[in-house]
Amino acid sequence: MDALSSLVDGFSVALSFQNLALAFVGCFLGTIIGALPGLGPSNGVAILIPLAFSLGLDPTAALILLTSVYYGAMYGGRISSILLNIPGDEPALMTTLDGYPMARQGRAGEALSLSGVASFVGAFFATWGLVFLAPQLVKVALLFGPAEYFALFALAFATLGGISSTNQAKAAFAAALGLGIAMIGVDGQTGVPRFSFGEVHLYDGIDFLVAIVGLFALSEGFIFLEHRGDRSGEGKHATVTMGRITPSWKMLRFTTPAMARSTVLGFIAGVLPGAGASLGSFLAYTAEKQISDKDGTFGKGDPRGVAAPEAGNNAAAGGALVPMLALGVPGSGTTAVLLAVLLALNITPGPLLFTQNPDVVWGLIAALFIGNIMLLAMNIPMVGMFARVLMIPPKFLMPIVAMISFVGIYGISGSTFDLVVMVIFGVLGWVLRKLDVPLVPVILGTLLGNLMEANLRRAMTISDGDWGVLFGSPLAIGLWTVAFVGFVLPIIVGKRLKKRIHMAKEEASSITD
């Protein structure tokens, strides 16, 4: 097995003292970030990228740190779902449905540890999926020429809004905005400045790290300020009794089938473009409810209802890494941010990554396994400590997040100009959020804009200006078809799906309240 021997090499990279320490720190920070309401995996990773960058970590080490944060945040999201009935991040929404009722019955500790185990199962098997599936996808991707890549980028944008997106016009607007931002700066092929208005600072273009931190992290601060922190857990302290903090064998056996099914569903949802972790946990929960809910216990604290979405969303998180690593095209918001990490480190993701930087890829995958085991070990005994983090009121937390954002960006460039641009992006992010315009396509556009244009122009140079080359191979036509379907389908089914997610949530809250 080719993949297995590469994995062994990966472990030899990941098992160095420095990398183990980074994985530990990443898992720890990630769990805290995930647990805090309002800070999810994408903002968490966004804040930490510039820091990892200015600390001068080598690519493998930086990736290990940041993906540990990513996995950690996926674990952490469940804590506030269960204790406060507030999802720590979007994918953890479904966990509130049965997790909070369990907590109110005095079984919070059990719910937390069970969901910890479920998260582990989901993430662990999804990482195995990544080991075997990603190299297969790489083989396909090696057949891609510039025209196919152009179509693939179009596919990524078309499907990024997600199947549950209700307004495709806004998703398209966001993508165009991001692509437009990427156009600022000197054109790589002919050397002429574009959209720089004679401002020298703009000749290098807008650093996507600045855009990401502004859009994700700072805008979150403005949202807090708008609500003056009233929407989060203040005054609603975690007063539920913990109960026992280890799940019984009986319960684990009882929930094993649910975890297994959800892991498979979640992984598939993660690999598919435009689905991501939120849909993974939603599918896992609804499927489990259909299969197992014979006595109407779902929504009232059924342990299977806690295990299913947690296994589902963590499996999806692992699955989402497949297209990101193998094709260089992320399938979700957080993987888009991880893509930014790679680009910032001057590594071009995609099929060549596996041949040119095998140590980076396999070291990263090995680190994911290690991180997972660490997270499980950390989450069961220390869950009480993580729960205490939820008590930090946002009025102290938000300034810290904002200041750390500034520190990270200033650390990279030491330029006031970048800080000002970041603040502008923060305001832009706030306005876009208010209008329900998704932020992820903006980021992806900023990241991939130049690559997308380069592929278009390369394809055209090869074909000598014939636009037909974009549809010139069956592979390209296939990609365009998927892109088209992926863009149009949500217009037809998106509203219904969103309504169902909403209904599931409302049904549950009417039971708990």
Partner: protein, 143 residues
């Protein structure tokens, strides 16, 4: 501001973007596509999606009352001042003041906010500068 107004702004932005794209200088060496085409495609996409928002707007979002809006405006102003003041004043002082301001505006008692600001600033300084060795802005006092 609802979707219609936002769409209108988007349309204006798209027009400006396309106009600017046609103003891009051409260099004497060029590929078949050139530096103008892709930006123009993006501009068209921007315009079309703005048009769609104008034609089929969503429900109006819940905008905060004027007072809150002013609050956000103040915070933006403070952050901009912070960005300019950093290299002049130095990290520790500028950050303590800014964090204290933000914490105060989020509802902390003023005295408590000052303490929180100082703690935040020193905490970040110790962790990121002293322990991790990150370079932070140095003012005339050296910190």
């Amino acid at each position: 501001m609802g979707d219609r107004i936002f769409g209108g702004l988007g349309l204006a932005l798209a027009a400006f973007f396309i106009w600017q794209a046609t103003q891009i200088q051409l260099s004497f060496i060029s590929d078949p596509v050139g530096p103008r085409t892709f930006p123009i495609i993006i501009g068209v996409l921007l315009g079309l999606s703005s048009l769609a928002m104008i034609l089929r707007p969503d429900a109006k979002p819940q905008w905060p009352p004027l007072g809150r809006l002013a609050e956000i405006g103040m915070a933006v102003a403070v952050l901009l001042i912070y960005a300019y003041a950093l290299p002049q004043v130095g990290f520790v002082i500028a950050t303590a003041l800014t964090a204290a301001f933000l914490s105060w505006r989020l509802g902390t008692h003023p005295l408590q906010a000052i303490l929180a600001g100082i703690a935040t600033s020193l905490g970040i300084y110790v962790v990121f500068h002293l322990i991790l060795g990150l370079s932070l802005a140095e003012g005339p006092l050296g910190f």
